[in-house]
Symmetry: C2
Subunit: 418 residues, 2 copies
């Protein structure tokens, strides 16, 4: 049974998210990059809302807005909630803000009920997770963990402005970013609430799910080189059609991946050269994106797929080139925190469902500092990074209920054990 405050809070959350969605760099649609004028507006609003929830508010040097619901004990450690306020281009409105405003509304309720916690509850609104402006991700969370690299400051946006200049203009001191890092000993853990960005919870008919792990990812660029020729004059048997080889590979990727539970692999980009209707494709370049929560399994599948590509090329007298463009390992969630989330979901009256996250999140960076947990909220049709991104107020109510119970369970744990 959901408490009355939660229903109201869910409606407030939806209304606040609608408000934030109007704060965009573009007249049509939501685009809000780090350090932009609309980001300043968002910080102003969020500061006011954090104050209303009884929090101390400050901005660190990289530009994260941080609110603390303080424990009475100034020596207490902090438990962290967080998510990001920046967006992709033409974004949906829930990706990021849900994970800031959700915990915030729970804290507001704690404050109005005068609840005291055995730890500081810090809510971090990260300045940059999507990397839209400086083409790199996790700027905000890396500053918190102490993994922000000095050379990031020389990154340049499309207008030629360096990250250092943007930070300074936003009020931060680039030279002091390293001083803002949290010490592992001062932090109890990190929890992030986020929309699923996939269709699993909808298919399972569940409002929320507990994340087991954030998938590791390998991105490979492959080129199949054949021989261009006149579409009318080269007999089929004499062709070295790069697209036919690439097509075989696309289907191999699908077939191999379907055999491995939780593995996903995608050919999202495919370009034929010269790419005209009356010329046999002489070369095809394509992208392969492989993700899994087990690093070994991911590596094995990548290896198998590259061998398959080589076999296809040998058989078809094509030339294969490939490069690993990007690679990052899987980030498992912390068992103890995930169990608390599981209990909170159960107590809220829902079957706890565990699922991996195929997308990256600030939690990936935060895992370098402390234990992490993530709560996924169902979204419509699995659509994200798109204006059609949609979450129901009912599911938000459940998420708030779970977060509230999770904080309660955490507090009990630390009251008992410390």
């Amino acid at each position: 049974m959901i408490a009355t405050w939660i229903d109201q809070a869910a409606h407030v959350l939806m209304s606040r998210i609608d408000t934030l969605a109007t704060l965009s760099e573009e007249p049509d649609g939501l685009t809000r990059s780090a350090y932009s004028p609309p980001m300043r507006h968002v910080h102003d609003l969020l500061t006011a809302w954090m104050h209303y929830a009884g929090m101390h508010v400050w901005r660190d040097n990289v530009g994260n807005l941080i609110g603390r619901y303080p424990s009475r004990n100034p020596q207490a450690r902090a438990f962290l909630f967080g998510s990001h306020l920046d967006t992709v281009r033409n974004a949906g409105k829930y990706d990021g803000p849900l994970g800031v405003l959700g915990p915030l509304l729970c804290i507001e309720q704690l404050h109005h009920q005068g609840v005291e916690l055995p730890f500081h509850l810090d809510l971090i609104a990260f300045i940059d997770e999507e990397g839209l402006r400086f083409h790199t991700a996790y700027l905000g969370s890396q500053a918190v963990t102490g993994h922000f690299k000095r050379e990031y400051l020389n990154l340049v946006d499309d207008d030629g402005i360096t990250l250092a200049e943007a930070i300074r203009e936003f009020g931060g001191d680039p030279a002091a970013i390293a001083l803002d890092r949290r010490e592992p000993a001062d932090v109890l853990g990190y929890c992030e609430v986020h929309i699923e960005q996939g269709p699993v919870l909808e298919a399972k008919n569940l409002p929320v799910g507990v994340v087991t792990s954030i998938a590791g990812q390998t991105r490979i660029a492959l080129t199949f080189g054949g021989m261009a020729g006149h579409a009318g004059t080269v007999p089929m048997q004499m062709r070295r059609d790069a697209l036919c080889g690439a097509a075989e590979f696309v289907l191999a990727v699908e077939a191999y991946t379907r055999q491995s539970p939780d593995m996903v692999a995608t050919v999202g980009k495919l370009q034929t050269e010269p790419g005209v209707s009356n010329v046999i494709p002489g070369s095809v370049t394509l992208s392969l994106d492989v993700r899994h929560h087990d690093n070994d399994q991911r590596q094995v599948v990548c290896q198998l797929l590259l061998e398959r590509a080589q076999h296809i090329c040998t058989t078809r007298r094509l030339k294969l080139d490939w490069t690993v463009v990007h690679q990052n390992p899987a980030t498992p969630c912390t068992l103890a925190l995930s169990h608390l989330l599981e209990r909170a979901v159960s107590e809220a009256g829902y079957r706890p469902h565990f699922l991996p996250s195929g997308a990256g999140h600030d939690a990936v960076a935060m895992a370098q500092l402390t234990g992490i947990a993530m709560l996924f909220v169902r979204c419509k049709d699995g659509i994200s990074h798109h204006p059609d991104e949609s979450v129901t107020v009912e599911d938000v109510s459940v998420a708030l209920d779970v977060v509230d119970r999770f904080i309660g369970l955490l507090a009990n744990h630390y009251r008992t054990h410390e």
Copy 2:
């Protein structure tokens, strides 16, 4: 055994082709569109060469340059040779000019030997076959056959110049084009010498081949509609990946076509939407180009392929859209003329090899006026429409020998029968 004059003529031909290749609209590479300043230079040179070969020379209103090696009998009918002088962008130098300069050098030899023919031998250098400038093909040959449509005159090039203006500026009278048409009763036949633009003769180790038929062509645009989604979060089993469906179709095209002798089918263009590495393709548009010398067989394969595409889409929960973009029937070569070419090849000492033409030629248009024949000349690696297009002087010698013998056989035939 090849006569001495032929070897010399072949070297002259190569040198003339090199000269024509310098007459281009672009400083690097050969691009010569209809009615362009370099086309004017080509006409000046060709006029001089035709005069040297004892021909009467005139330009018709559409802009074809025509040389006549006249029979003594002014009432005689005409046998036509021809090919085009315009090129594609960044073209090879043999596609077109070979079919003008080859017969011209044979006629030059006839003239210097004082040979008299029982027919006029007309050599037509067509002004526009590739359609580079006005995006339509066969302008020159259609004027000769009387199929030049008045509405062509309103076609506009990239600079906003109409075809009528271009013709007028080139010295023609657009209103008089219809008067230039040949009457079927005045024409004995048409023969075109052309590079193969394919790899068959090279693979057969033969310098020349006799064309059986110019393939009919169907061009279809197909769209496979699926559901875009996050490459990390949508499980394989829940995907509606448009590229996987398209890949299955590409392989089906290859497999079906390989079963039909002389059939060629090509997917040359394939575009994925949104086409980024971390998004499952939501839609794929591709081109299908099917060619065969038998219209029924071509239609049947197109029908089978569309059924296969529909089946793939039904199985994969994709949406199929398709449109026939272009369709033209096959043009068979005339048996009697092809037999004369076959005899000429034999007498020149080569095994006659018959092959279809997958590419279109002026002969397609000319078939509406008279019987046609085509002689293909081997080219290196089947490469055409490319600066690497290459023909050997030895193969040109053989082609000249065959054309010379073909004219001889024709003359004997008409001396005997008329």
